[in-house]
Symmetry: D2
Subunit: 363 residues, 4 copies
């Protein structure tokens, strides 16, 4: 199988580096183009990048020349790690020019015709692309977003419980510093400290999940009918967003039924067969003090959400703790999984990955 060329927008930033790292040795995709800021453009990736992840950038990518943001691209598939402002126009231009854009930026997440895709929980939202193409006059292009990184552990934990009637959700986060990019949080601000504020985050956490957990109504997404409240904090943790969640479930299931729903959750075919899909999307931990960011963020290669401490809540009925790796599951890893789903669903032109999936659910 010939691998599909992909481009990474914002490739030298912190999330861009995660894309580069996770795409190294990807079975279907191959990084062919890296796009950076004016400062980086024209230099090789090895020269331009200040690698902030552990280890070093993959050798295979060091000699790629960084292209400027407005350069025409040849790769059919584009991953975007652009900052919001830069993403706004450029992602639309690229989709209009026929590229499939899987974006981690927040710019278009809440647009009516943009799927806020999370394969395990709402693969049906991909059908919104037909609407998107029709409305915007796009042919082969498309724009698919993934959610804010703090929302990830929330929606991954809530999706298996929708059958019980999720009506109210109270979320308090302790978010890792990598969520703020690089250089991001000054060390003088966070060492021996917590910051009880993440700019713009609470609004996202109170709205994006309703869209993600909604269902496709033929023309648009009908959001989940629930109320969410979020309080966001920054903690001195490298990677891994932890959330304390209290929730109301209309059907009042037993604690065991909730735990069963988590552990047995897999997502619809073909999602479990995708290369980046974790064996178990939601893992319930029985230890009294887990999940913990450092110890559990890498579960399922950073793609599983770990949940624990389910117990009664005197106010809303249930409370628990959940954790996702914010720059893998909550950012680059999710975009890649989104693209994998699009590949097997036939959204990447003639590219057909060499995978046998039990049953394709796309009609």
């Amino acid at each position: 199988m010939q691998k599909l060329d992909v481009a990474v927008l914002g490739a030298t930033g912190a999330v861009g580096q995660r894309f580069i790292q996770l795409l190294e040795n990807h079975p279907w995709f191959r990084v062919a183009e890296v796009i950076g800021s004016d400062r980086s453009a024209g230099r090789t990736y090895g020269e331009a990048v200040r690698w902030v992840l552990d280890g070093s950038p993959p050798d295979s990518i060091l000699d790629l020349q960084v292209k400027p943001l407005d350069a025409p691209l040849t790769s059919p598939l584009v991953f975007s790690a652009l900052p919001k402002e830069a993403a706004e126009l450029r992602e639309i231009e690229l989709a209009a020019a026929g590229h499939v854009v899987c974006t981690n930026a927040s710019a278009h997440r809440m647009a009516d015709d943009v799927p806020l895709l999370l394969p395990e929980i709402n693969s049906e939202h991909l059908s919104l692309i037909e609407v998107q193409r029709q409305q915007r006059g796009w042919t082969s292009g498309a724009l698919v977003a993934n959610s804010n990184c703090t929302i990830m552990p929330v929606v991954m934990a809530l999706a298996p419980l929708l059958k019980f009637g999720v009506s109210k959700v109270m979320i308090v986060s302790a978010q890792a510093i990598s969520g703020a990019g690089y250089p991001g949080i000054a060390s003088l601000d966070i060492l021996d400290n917590m910051i009880p504020y993440v700019g713009g985050e609470e609004e996202k956490v109170e709205t994006e999940p309703l869209k993600m957990l909604g269902h496709f109504g033929g023309e648009s997404i009908i959001p989940l009918d629930a109320v969410m409240s979020a309080s966001c904090n920054r903690a001195p943790v490298i990677d891994g967003h932890l959330v304390n969640v209290s929730m109301e479930l209309r059907d009042k299931p037993s604690l065991d039924a909730v735990i069963d729903a988590w552990n047995s959750f897999r997502g619809l075919d073909p999602v479990p067969s995708l290369p980046s899909a974790p064996k178990q999307p939601v893992i319930y931990m029985t230890q009294p003090d887990r999940p913990q960011p450092r110890r559990d963020r890498s579960a399922g290669n950073g793609m599983s959400t770990s949940v624990g401490r389910l117990r009664p809540d005197p106010l809303l009925g249930y409370k628990f703790v959940a954790l996702s790796h914010n720059t893998i599951r909550g950012a680059a890893g999710c975009s890649i999984l989104n693209a994998e789903l699009m590949a097997v669903q036939g959204y990447l032109g003639s590219f057909q990955p060499n995978v046998s999936v039990p049953e394709l659910t796309r009609s």
Copy 2:
């Protein structure tokens, strides 16, 4: 004025060290006796202590000989930093023997006749001592407790709002490592990490505040009629417990009215005149990202509670952030303030501090 001799139980532990540190140069009290474990007894304090606070133990205390836990004491006033198990019997024995015991241990907090005293918010609870003495047959002795350290920022923030009708409170904590004593939390457990569990803490946080915010009904404390839910987390922070709080207020006051209630809160006379009382017990910070543990824990010499980020909560109506220094306001400092109140109220025998208070409220 002759200073009153005081004894410190558990003087070599982490909270005991705070007592020693805060009592250095106290205008009314003088550490005359230090009591430690069998391992420490018989050695001088300087030899026995492994000082874990910043700096070094005060010179004045280094040569005091550590007494064993069962030694008879001569000091009329006793501060207890004992672990729960050790506190259980010994505190009762000492009170029965005529000592006034101000304890930081949790052993007797919820006993019906033990005041859970926080001078600014429930000084009237001291009247419970009459009940206590009568029921237990004590004469000069008494036992007064202060609250769990995580509760401190909660009750300090809620007390000024009782007039608005506090009915539901949701609390998520990020607690400092010093709250677990010494050696306490292993560094391998908390560096680059959060622990979403503090053993036994949530039960305390859901019950003790109701007693503290209740009123004295002549014979006993009538607890506040409200429901509290707590989720407790440990964070890599030295000192300072941060809480994210959502609450329902029956009267639905404006945000400004709530902020005014906080900033103007002082506690009843003579509390504001006590030596350890902060000028402003509750300080509302207007910056978007405050309070923060490292930067705000020392407000009011560690005795003020800092509050911030008051905003609407979609579920309960109001949410905010609060912070108290857990080993000063939340432990030793509060016990000392309790003892100061008892001194001016005449509970310390013939000892009469040299202070002019505007008006004594004790009947």
Copy 3:
């Protein structure tokens, strides 16, 4: 190929856990027995262990019953992660009983007939086993030690330079907290702090390297003729010991010659072919601010030593920085590599690993 049964002494401690983790899926060895303290003995490993590494213990090991320290063992190969005191007698007993013991304990490191083995740098020291067996009357048994974890980056960096005449070495360490085991360093001691003292460490760092870098003289090890000075510090870092080194080289090679010596260093055959051997034992990094513990400790799966910042030293001639993963290369990983070397050299009885090595160097 049938895998060889191995036993892990001290299997529930921090280093023991690394053995368990690194031996999972080992191509030659299979953990058949786990030995723990009296507290753990009789329980399953899953029940007895408090897993402090990231993630969870391997499933394959959870149901093994922990044996007491004095239980007879059936595994020919024994890895020891015992504390020094427990190791002293038991390791000798097991070797006398015919087991090959690869120990991480310090108890016997400096015994004249015990190889302080580091395959890449002194594989010839294995010949000392003949002496050991003869002197002690052992037949199939043997005792082989690996070095203190702080020494690892020092000897790995110095070994390739012996040809230039290493005569004086000044070492200042910044050591990770995992080096102290679990619970080890209290978080209150190390957060926002450094501790300029590691008990007993400086003596080891000033002596063990001389033995390791010495040569086998037929009957015993002739130590390197050099003087070493060490200052040891503890830093708030999870894993990875960093050393600042100044040194005198008699031949005064150019900086480039030193760097070439590092990058081209491989160790003698068959070491580079062993399963746990890193592709490049010593990696010189050209960035001005590397190596760094968090970013470089996992180089070569934690088995490579990273070196950087080679520059002139006004006092001794050369200075540089080196880093090794202290619980992989500096502990369990090194013991396993030692055992692999012993396997191919025929020291593990009839066990013959299924490996084609270019040339066996054992006579």
Copy 4:
């Protein structure tokens, strides 16, 4: 006594904030002017500053209007916390205009006629001001520098030992993040990490001390005849630079003699009487694991240097550990002490502080 008006250049930066904080309630000086960048100029200090120290800026300063860098100043005394580039010209202009400039910037430290002043160790260097004024044609103006913050613990520890003949010094630092200003070190670079590099620092540490420890030769400073080697590292510590030092002393004094020299060191009169002078400039700690940054940085209100672990060094003879608070003793606090010395020595025009010093040493 009327306080002297002072101006603070770079008042909104991290070191500038320390000046503001330390000058609050200063007995002699009063902050009358604050100077900031173009971004800050014209706003009040309260609006312009992003306070990064603990707590909040002093109320007394909040309403001062920030002046632009080129504004004429009225204060006779100017403290400079400017970055090097900005300091280069402006400090000279201000001194030429008659102001006494006490600078923390590195721009002019090594100029032949600029005293690198540290009152306890080289107060005689102030005589260089006569040379400076003569050569530059300045009348009332002067320019006095203080040293790099990493040098502080080194020179404070070495000064009392000059009588023993200091000839070789090997220094390895672990420097706090506050030394890099704000925002300074990114948290992603330093959490769970060390950075074995501080740009430009090693050169300073190898040269500035020789000037500081030199003597005034009538026309210029004759530097100390010694060789220094420095390796600089950044550690995840808020404040407090720790150095591991090995040294050669020609006279080979006993360890006790060295400790006595440290503990008895006071500096020449009138230095010990200055308001910011610590009671004991160098404190030898006898505990095996001290000094430590977090616990000892505030000794003497951050103005004392703590020393410990003196022991033989196999290579140079002696080794020890030293610690100074980098933004108090190593920056703003030292500049203020310098200005206090200049005040009593009559260098601040007609301003005569109200202090009785045992004996003025200026001729």
